[in-house]
């Protein structure tokens, strides 16, 4: 009996775990609450990128992502959420910066770094890719020119699996 129980437990342990999106609530640019655990994209991939208005490489990465975003959406249906970790000294600048630069991503505000801590981000930029079920499949820290190409290869892999 004990053996059976243990065997059953082991099967339990090997079961596929559910969403990796943490239960943290942030605000969007209109002040609306958004629970990260409930983010969905009709089964298509989701990208979360951490950035800040004062982070040079982040701005570069987002400019580069924005240039290709429309194509990526057409080809894979991916949705990008750009999580700003700006605190109260610069939250008022986030919206004008985003609009002024013409970015098309969904913007979320992580004013006191709650999501940053929950997802173990040390320094921005830090990019996460989730599949349609919220399972984390890829992450990358830092930005090197052309880094978006590698991210896109991973997104394509997910899109093909479908």
């Amino acid at each position: 009996m004990t053996l059976l129980l243990m065997a059953l437990m082991v099967t339990g342990l090997h079961a596929q775990s559910k969403s990796d999106l943490p239960n943290v609530t942030l605000k969007d640019l209109n002040g609306k609450n958004v629970n990260i655990a409930k983010l969905t994209n009709n089964g298509k991939p989701i990208v979360l990128t951490f950035w800040a208005t004062w982070c040079g490489p982040c701005i570069k990465e987002h400019n580069a992502l924005n240039d290709v975003y429309a194509d990526w959406q057409d080809e894979t249906g991916v949705k990008i959420y750009a999580v700003s970790i700006d605190d109260s000294r610069s939250t008022a600048k986030v919206k004008p910066t985003v609009e002024g630069k013409g970015w098309d991503f969904e913007i979320l505000l992580d004013v006191n770094s709650d999501l940053k801590r929950a997802m173990n981000v040390s320094n921005p930029p830090h990019t996460f890719l989730f599949d349609g079920n919220g399972k984390l499949v890829y992450q990358h820290t830092g930005y090197i020119e052309g880094g978006e190409d590698e991210l896109y290869e991973e997104i394509l892999k997910l899109a093909k699996k479908k």
Binding site: E99, G102, H140
Partner: protein, 576 residues
């Protein structure tokens, strides 16, 4: 049979339990090896220290509505420029949270903030060695859609100091902090407003500290046992417009920072923004008067801070523009800031094929005006034990602390070339901000150019050129022998960096910073360094060798001075 049924029931329970279990974590180590370097005047090692290591490891566990985590820290010993109180090893932070959306409860070390933080903010900033987490409990209630109520209670972290009253020495004492906050988002709670163009939310907080009034026994002043601070805030939006403001008031709170005066404190922040695709502008104003709020009234600098006074000026990231960074003056400041972002559309003469991104920013900070008050029939100003001064709310002093006017162009020239250039005009009152009495202010023009060339799909080259030119202080300026130390980084600077990257893993760079126009000849030094960095997914390894100039590292208006050094730095970080 029964046993089997039980076992399968247990299995089902265990399975969903295990299914929902998640672990993640991160780890980082920064290590520095210090060497003597007569060229930049390092003739002895600080405290004879050859090696400094800062490290942490943290683990988070989540299971549905439950989460818990802990962080271990080690400073063996701390790197130069970090506070010596950090020296040590231990479990610095732990917490457990249950949150089902209606009610949330956290026990342990809490990071939270009310509004913009004017009366309460606890946070952690690894690069500064700063952590003022509140050890205690927090309750969050969301009784109806759009309404959030919060309560916190506890004692703050002070490096490795004990949390028990009886084990605390006066220099490590922290009073009990209690706070409540309420926020009401009208758009979420009133169905008719759900999709409205008009947006509104209101919030209010109250925070008090309860302190031992005998930690400075020489005082004959009566220190208040309880000090309360309250704040109210409004966020309004209509279409492309956004307005927000917060006002905070604190009762009398004599402290070492305000020279033990009994004046009440005030803070006001407001911002107005307009944005549409391709254009964004925001104007911000701020008034701070006697708003340092600490859980130990003898604390200096940022120790024991309960609140956070956000600086609103532009944050520079390149090395020369960020050399003179403003830090908040909690005793009083009047500040204003304007930022405009504009993208010249694609396909126009100036926009070219990819569009051109422009940014303009101007910020200025002045002192508040302080008038003398009557005390025992005499006019006194900022005298210990009195109400200190009176201050007209909208009056701005002629004493300017800081001004930054800058203009940036960001342009993708072709498929392979990218250019960013910025011009900055800077005024920096070194005497006030850094506390070097008698040193003249920095008035400088700064420029940089950052060019990236994509060699092919994998490789790229980046070149950075920067210059900082002071208006008055340069080669010809006479410095008295006795004041030499205050001029260590003054005068003209030039800097260059070349970086070669192979996507996605490698990057190599060499850089030089040269203080060629320092008024003191022996300070006209080169600061050469080389860096190799390797990134694999969420793991980063970085090795830097060379000289580091004396400077200030600032995050969020909180700054840490880094002494000049020579040696090797290794950073390893990963998360999973």
């Amino acid at each position: 049979m029964l046993a089997l049924a039980l076992a399968s029931g247990f299995k089902a329970g265990a399975q969903s339990f295990v299914d929902n279990s998640q672990m993640n974590g991160s780890f980082q180590t920064d290590a520095q090896y210090y060497m003597l370097d007569k060229g930049i005047d390092i003739t002895h090692l600080e405290n004879g220290k050859k090696l400094g290591i800062n490290g942490f490891g943290k683990i988070n566990y989540t299971n549905g509505n439950f989460s818990a985590g802990m962080r271990f820290e080690a400073f063996l010993p701390e790197m130069n420029g970090f506070r010596s109180e950090l020296n040590g090893v231990g479990l610095a932070n732990f917490f457990a949270t249950y949150d089902n959306g209606f009610v949330g409860m956290t026990v342990g070390d809490i990071y939270d903030q009310f509004g913009s933080g004017l009366v309460f903010r606890t946070y952690e900033e690894w690069s500064l060695g700063m952590d003022n987490a509140l050890r205690g409990a927090r309750v969050v209630l969301r009784p109806a859609q759009g309404i959030t109520l919060k309560g916190v209670y506890g004692r703050q972290r002070y490096y490795w100091a004990a949390y028990h009253n009886r084990n605390m020495s006066n220099s490590e004492y922290r009073g009990i902090v209690r706070g409540v906050d309420a926020e009401w988002d009208l758009n979420q709670s009133i169905p008719a407003l759900n999709e409205s163009k008009f947006r509104m939310s209101l919030g209010g907080s109250f925070v008090s500290k309860s302190q031992d009034t005998t930690i400075v026994n020489s005082l004959f002043y009566r220190i208040p046992v309880n000090v309360g601070a309250a704040a109210g805030r409004i966020n309004l939006g209509y279409g492309n417009w956004a307005f927000s403001t917060e006002y905070a008031h604190k009762i009398n709170d004599p402290s070492a920072i305000n020279n033990f005066i009994y004046k009440e404190g005030q803070a006001l922040m407001a911002s107005l923004g307009y944005s549409q695709k391709g254009f964004g502008a925001v104007i911000q104003v701020k008034r701070i008067d006697n708003m340092s709020f600490k859980s130990n009234y003898t604390g200096k600098e940022n120790d024991f801070d309960i609140n956070f006074i956000p600086p609103i000026n532009y944050t520079h990231t390149h090395s020369l523009p960020s050399m003179y960074t403003y830090s908040t003056q909690p005793n009083g400041e009047m500040a204003a800031q304007l930022q405009v972002n504009y993208t010249i559309p694609k396909g126009t003469a100036l926009g070219g094929k990819y569009g051109t991104k422009l940014a303009f920013n101007m910020s200025q900070v002045n002192d508040i005006v302080r008038d003398s008050v009557m005390y025992n029939g005499q006019l006194v100003l900022n005298k210990k034990g009195t109400t200190g001064y009176s201050s007209k709310f909208f009056a701005v002093s002629d004493h300017r602390f800081f001004r930054d006017i800058n203009f940036e162009v960001d342009k993708k020239i072709s498929k392979d070339w990218h250019l960013t250039a910025q011009y900055i005009n800077l005024y920096y009152d070194m005497e006030t901000i850094e506390g070097h009495a008698g040193t003249p202010p920095v008035r400088a023009n700064i420029g940089f150019m950052d060019v990236t060339y994509k060699i092919n799909k994998k490789q790229s080259l980046r070149i950075e050129l920067q210059g900082l030119w002071e208006n008055k202080i340069h080669q010809g300026y006479h410095v008295n022998e006795s004041e030499k130390k205050d001029y260590q980084k003054r005068g003209h600077w030039a800097a260059a960096l070349v970086e070669y990257s192979i996507n996605p893993h490698w990057s190599f760079s060499i850089a030089d910073k040269w203080n060629y126009g320092n008024p003191v000849e022996e300070y006209r030094d080169h600061y050469f360094s080389g860096t190799i960095s390797y990134i694999h997914e969420a793991t980063r390894v970085m090795l830097t060798a060379g000289r580091q100039s004396e400077g200030v590292v600032c995050v969020g208006g909180v700054c840490r001075t880094v002494p000049a050094s020579s040696g090797v730095t290794l950073t390893v970080s990963t998360s999973f």
